[in-house]
């Protein structure tokens, strides 16, 4: 009698081993969140919504993006004046890149190279070749450059400058500024729609989001926000994300602790979702079923069900979560 039991145990153990082996093949998407005050990056499994690892980064990690294939994670280590590149699978630091002083936000060319980095301290955008760390160019822009966006065809790079209150459009073929668009006070984020037909720019102090037509570089509409029970000065638009199909946009409203859901066709605000304290940046999962928001003061991220426009969960990460990116 004993033998068959042992045998079946053996089979079960073997099956268990095989299952463990098979797990990575299910490949659950992972979110990477920079924690500005902890100098770390939290890794969240998007199936279980649990923090599976916390990686020590350079000091004051803020901007975070992924390579187009999702294999590399780029992090701005603002106080160490460098960009760190991590392997998204092994979570190991692969290399560091030059960044210019105080890098905050950056954007990769859609081809995956070069990297455009805003240097808040010296009014420049630094362009770096991610393969060999060569300095490709330094583009002088407005005072306190911040938000970085790039058109899907890679032809235009847009930088916002906090103090000049402008979005500067740069032709990436010669790195020259071709247009300066005046927006409301302290522009933070520049985000092109997937079809390249619109550019959205959020203004933190102005409390608005400008939707710009890249054919003319004129503002089509300025979206403003009103939330019952919240004072206007607490409404500070920062993070902006638009779905690939161009139907919905989500705007993080800072200390209003809400994410606005905007109908991207009519440009009307439809809903305000209560997330966490001082909501800052946003990031979709690759399938766009979920949107994550980083909430700096409640030290967590909120998971938003995109189709149902509902907050489904919050996940505690490190202190002062700043940016987020999700890879397959």
């Amino acid at each position: 009698m004993k033998r068959p039991i042992m045998l079946s145990t053996g089979i079960a153990a073997l099956a268990g081993l095989l299952m463990v082996d098979a797990l990575p093949a299910q490949a659950s998407p992972r979110a990477f969140v920079t924690n500005e005050r902890d100098h770390t990056m939290s890794v969240v499994d998007m199936n279980t919504l649990k923090v599976i690892d916390t990686i020590k980064t350079g000091r004051r990690p803020r901007g975070i993006i992924a390579s187009p294939d999702g294999k590399l994670i780029y992090v701005c280590a603002s106080d160490d004046n460098r960009v760190e590149v991590y392997d998204a699978a092994t979570l190991k630091l692969v290399k560091t890149l030059r960044s210019g002083p105080d890098p905050e936000l950056f954007v990769l060319h859609p081809s995956g190279n070069p990297l455009y980095i805003a240097n808040e301290d010296d009014n420049m955008v630094t362009v770096v070749n991610v393969e060999n760390n060569d300095l490709v160019a330094e583009i002088p822009v407005g005072v306190e450059p911040e938000g970085m966006g790039i058109s899907p065809d890679g032809k235009y790079m847009v930088n916002t400058s906090e103090t000049t209150n402008m979005a500067h459009v740069v032709d990436t073929s010669n790195n020259e500024i071709i247009e300066n668009i005046l927006v409301d006070s302290r522009p933070r984020i520049a985000q092109f729609t997937e079809d390249g037909k619109q550019l959205w720019v959020s203004s933190e102090v102005g409390g608005t989001v400008a939707v710009i037509d890249p054919a003319t570089w004129k503002i089509i509409k300025k979206i403003s926000f009103k939330i019952p029970g919240v004072t206007d000065d607490a409404i500070q638009p920062v993070g902006v994300r638009v779905t690939k199909d161009g139907s919905k946009a989500f705007i993080a409203l800072g200390p209003a602790n809400r994410v606005a859901v905007v109908n991207a066709k009519t440009l009307e605000v439809e809903k305000y979702l209560l997330v966490g304290q001082r909501v800052w940046q946003l990031g979709f999962t690759p399938d766009e079923k979920f949107l994550l928001s980083t909430n700096g003061n409640s030290n967590d991220i909120s998971v938003i069900d995109v189709a149902n426009e509902k907050v489904t969960k919050s996940v505690t990460v490190g202190r002062l979560p700043w940016g987020v990116v999700v890879v397959p």
Binding site: R37, G229, V230, A234, N257, Y272, L274, Q277, N297, S298
Partner: protein, 211 residues
Amino acid sequence: MPATRNSTPFRPLRLAVPLLLLSCAPGLAAAPTGGLWPCVQRKVPVLAAGQMWSGPSIENVNWQQDSDVAALVPVLVAQRTPIDDATEQVESFAQKAGAERKDRLTLLFAGVFDQINARRSRIMNGIERYSQHQIELSQRIKSESLELAKAKKAAQSDEDKAKAAELEQRLLWDTRIYDARNQAVTAVCESPVLLEQRAFSLARAIQNVME
């Protein structure tokens, strides 16, 4: 920043300061506006319910009338209650709340919001008075050091010298007190932030059991 905060030798004093501020706060006298606010955090005099609550309006609700709510609010608000315990208590309140569950949970939030806001205002007034005392102390240190310089220069007899030494001691003490208090400002300024975080966490816990 946080690393230096933990390593300073003034920790016991700092912990005591918020309590001190509370105990000596004379009600809700309007805080003088202007240059007294010593914190890097922007001064937001009162919290807005809309920043943490998307449920029914809490205007003109009398939460004290519901005796269960009135009993639970101080427990939830107290900082010694860990937030996980507070969340459990909210959940068990919701289970027993009966048919008017939604209304009673709204009352519960109204109570929590009310109490935390009041406590926060008292602390903020205290911070400004603290700042006022520091300004006065710095002025005293300035005049003491002038007096000392003068006394040292003029000191001839042993008696004069002893007097100058005494002045020097007093100046030293005042400077020490000033420095210790100044270092404590960072910790003191965290108190309103911590209270806002607590209000938000409790609001979230209550809203989670509203559906």
